[in-house]
Symmetry: C2
């Protein structure tokens, strides 16, 4: 099992506070020690950091803390490999260019028997089910659309593709093109939208607090998405099982919710992940 972290904002924001709690789960407060990755969009460009060292002690993660990169869209992933090799080619987030934009993708879960035909536009480099799923989604989208369609059409198409993939197992993921951010839950995924009036937040994984009122303007809006809540004194919302949500400018723009939404407890969600040997 692994954990996901995403951030989607209406103004460039640094993710250091959330990332400091998140990275401690890579070796200190939890056991996700088989590498990590984080990708920042900066306008159309990306900064991508991958490391095969545990995030809690990684010099790359130290740099991210020191550098305080501001970004409107960030995706991070810490890995606990229960099967499959640890290698850089298998480290999330994965990146591809589609329609003249970079797309980043990170996955938590396990897909059984998911072997789509070799793509014409996109092929995996490593050997994870995650990268196969990412390439399958892009391949399907790119084959159907020569240019990026309007957002509603794109969302409906992604939702249809996700239904096909999740039939193969656990498929919690975050996907972004630097403007919008898709988040899908099979089991566990939470989010919070921070906006004015901003308050103080305390990390769950460290004795650190931040007063967001001191570092924001009243117009700022920041959505943070994480496998498990990162703060102790705020209300995080859980995505329903099989729910797909699209964030833009730090708010939910579209959602595809099952007719009968189900919510797993943290214990249930983690138990399912362990039972199927979720590896990513």
């Amino acid at each position: 099992m692994c954990q996901l972290l995403g951030m989607n904002c209406n103004t460039p924001t640094d993710i250091v506070f959330s990332f400091e709690g998140f990275r401690r789960r890579g070796g200190l407060t939890d056991h996700h020690v088989d590498g990590f990755g984080i990708g920042f969009f900066e306008q159309k460009g990306i900064r991508l950091f991958h490391d095969d060292k545990p995030s809690a002690g990684s010099p790359v993660a130290d740099l991210i803390k020191a550098y305080q990169i501001k970004s409107e869209n960030v995706i991070a992933h810490i890995r606990k490999a229960t099967s499959g090799q640890t290698s850089l080619a298998n480290t999330h987030p994965f990146v591809r260019e589609m329609w003249g934009e970079y797309w980043l993708f990170a996955h938590n879960g396990h897909l059984s028997g998911f072997q789509p035909a070799q793509g014409r536009f996109y092929r995996p480099v490593g050997n994870t089910d995650s990268e196969r799923a990412f390439c399958f989604i892009l391949e399907s989208l790119r084959s159907r659309f020569d240019d990026r369609p309007d957002t509603e059409t794109l969302f409906a198409e992604v939702a249809a593709l996700v239904r096909r993939v999740r039939a193969h197992g656990l498929f919690n993921f975050i996907l972004s093109n630097g403007d919008m951010m898709f988040a899908h839950a099979s089991t566990l995924l939470h989010y919070i939208v921070r906006k004015a009036p901003f308050g103080e937040a305390h990390l769950l994984d460290d004795d650190i607090a931040v007063d967001f009122a001191a570092v924001t303007t009243p117009d700022d809006r920041v959505a943070v998405i994480a496998t498990l809540p990162l703060t102790a004194n705020e209300t995080w919302h859980q995505l329903a099982c099989d729910e797909l949500v699209l964030f833009r400018d730090g708010a939910i723009l579209l959602r595809d919710t099952p007719d009968s939404p189900r919510y797993l407890s943290q214990e249930e969600g983690l138990a399912i992940a362990r039972a199927v040997g979720a590896s990513h």
Copy 2:
């Protein structure tokens, strides 16, 4: 004008010595202060670091020094923008996936009126002539070959494509898939192949020396490619104008040399780059 650095080896090697001299040209010993980038292959995976700060003082470059990443193929680029904006999307090296492999590309030069048709497989994200040229080469290769052809066929095809691009101006570049490394000179590009017996080398840009005999085995072979030589006491070879060379395992495997090779002096090469306003 900018500068290029590449390394192709038969065993994973750290590039810290060469990079330490190279990065000083980004603000200390030369004026290439508009950002830098470096990409390391690690088996099939890549680590990619981009920064818009000058390499001489960049915390990202400090991390690379501290981390001593070992790689068989590395491409780095420091930028002096004479036209065009400084942005992350325009920072070399650029990366794309082709045939299930990552490809990295960095360019030094300037192409006039190079506006290939929009690609089906690859499109630029930023607005540099460099990324357009990279996408053009990949698009042409991918359109012609569904899978990577044998090396001789690939080399001949790349050589033919390069002739078309360089008709538009200065096209010094380095291109790699993590196994082989193409290097092409329009004006200035030098290389050295280090192998046993190894000796001591002194940087041109800093008072640093290394005794390669102490950090290598007798079987190691390392090719270093750079716009201008990096060391004072070794013999660097210059690529002829319009010469394309393919390195693998730290040695030259194939080369496409003009019938009447010409070699520019450093002064001539730099003067031409200045005259055409080479921006990358």
